[in-house]
Structure formats: C-alpha cells, structure tokens
C-alpha cells in the first residue's frame, strides 16, 4: 500500500495572524508527517519570514479545526478547515 497524496486543507488566519501572513486564507497540501496542530504550526513557521513572524509565539496562537476550538496536541486528521488566531475577545 502506497501513501496517498496529501489532501489540500484550507487554512484561515484572523486578526494579527492574518495581518502578519498577509492573507486571510489559503489551500495547502500538508505533508503526511504533519499530524497535529502543533506540528502544523511548526511546519508553517518554516514556510517564510511572514509565517515565522506570525507564529513566533505559538503559545498565544489559538486553533479551530472544522470550526471547533481545539488544543495544540489535537490531531488534524479529517480537517477540511484549520483556523489560526489570537485569543478571542468577543462580547
């Protein structure tokens, strides 16, 4: 059995994460070795200086998978949409 081609996933960025990266969303095919939220962030950090800047403090980045809040150790299996953003300030 061969490894399937990685499916593209939609990444969304909000607030200053969006501003630093310079775009609100993109479609990316993540390598199969990237399995968790923390690994996704680490992989993105290496993508370029704007990503390195946006994710320079991973501990303040919040993540939602398929529009549900998740923690950094959550798996990204089944993710169609992964959003990265600062702590929310509703209300």
């Amino acid at each position: 059995m061969t490894t399937a081609d990685p499916k593209p996933v939609k990444l969304l960025y909000f607030a200053w994460v969006r501003e630093k990266i310079g775009k609100p969303s993109e479609e990316i095919a993540l390598p199969a070795t990237v399995k968790t939220v923390a690994e996704t962030i680490a992989w993105l950090q290496a993508r370029g200086p704007e990503y390195a800047d946006a994710f320079s403090r991973p501990q303040v980045i919040r993540t939602a998978i398929n529009q549900t809040h998740v923690k950094a150790d959550a798996t990204i299996a089944g993710a169609r949409e992964i959003a990265f953003f600062p702590p929310v300030t509703g209300g």
Binding site: W16, E19, H69, V88, G90
Partner: protein
C-alpha cells in the same frame, strides 16, 4: 432561541418585546448590552473594528446558547453580536435571557457573556485618535486574563 451575527444595530426594547410576547410563564428578563467605550488603555479611540470567523461564530454562539438552555430553565434567549467598524457609544453585543424566576435569568445571562468572551471568535482592533487617518492602523485588543478566570465558576 436565536443568535444573530450582523453589522446592523439592534433595538433592545424591540428584542425584549418579540422574545417575551404571549409567554406569560416569563417573570424575569435580563439583558446585557455591551457598547464601545470612548477610551482604551492608550487613550481616546475613534473607532473599534470587529473581525470574526463567519460560520464558526454562528456555530459557537449556538453551542453556548444550547449549553445555557441545558443548565437553566429558560423560556427564551437571544444573542446578537455585531461586527465591522463601530464608533464609541455604539452597541456591540446583546444577550437576553427570560425565565420564570430571576436567579435563572441572571445566572444564564452572566454565563452567556463569560462564554461569549472566551469562545466566540471575535477580535477587536482599536483605532487611537492620533492614527485615525491611517488605513488599517490601530492595535488589537488583548484577551483579558479576567475573562478566563470568570469561566472557572461555571466549571462542573
């Protein structure tokens, strides 16, 4: 039991009236209205821009509302949250809870606000007076530690 995410303003009196109409089981209605303050930590502001996550916002507000309905005997609830550019004095958010008794209405309204602050995907950018002519200028409001600790009392 409805949530709305909108740019338009809301009319608290009208929302109460439509929520409680023809329901004489209701004896207590609590509303919370959040408004844009004219001053931030750094001084006067000219506007506040709210960004949100379309789709997730509505889903998350419905989850929060369902949780409140599961915990308290509520006859009706309403959540309206605005986004976009707002001026000092403008309404940001409205929460209404209606119940037979006041304790449930008060607790549920506070619960909704505490959860909304820490779960609803909104971000606020304030434009200080001295930067108001610059497009996109301003600073993002930090989430308060007080908001996270406010959640602790609802843990069970």
């Amino acid at each position: 039991m409805t949530v709305c995410v909108q740019t338009e303003d809301f009319d608290t009196g009208r929302e109460i009236a439509s929520l409680t109409k023809n329901n004489t089981n209701i004896g207590a209605v609590v509303t919370f209205t959040g408004t844009v303050r004219g001053h931030a930590e750094g001084g006067a502001i000219t506007s506040m821009t709210l960004e949100h996550y379309p789709g997730m916002t509505e889903t998350e507000l419905q989850r929060i509302e369902a949780e409140a309905v599961a915990r308290w005997p509520l006859d009706a609830t309403r959540i309206i949250h605005r986004y976009g550019e707002l001026a000092p004095g403008d309404n940001i958010v409205l929460v209404i809870t209606a119940s037979a008794h006041r304790k449930a209405a008060f607790e549920a309204a506070e619960f909704l606000m505490d959860y909304l602050k820490t779960r609803a995907p909104f971000w606020k950018k304030e434009t200080p007076a001295e930067l108001s002519s610059e497009q996109g200028a301003g600073h993002w409001v930090d989430a308060g530690d007080a908001d996270d600790s406010a959640l602790e009392r609802w843990k069970r």
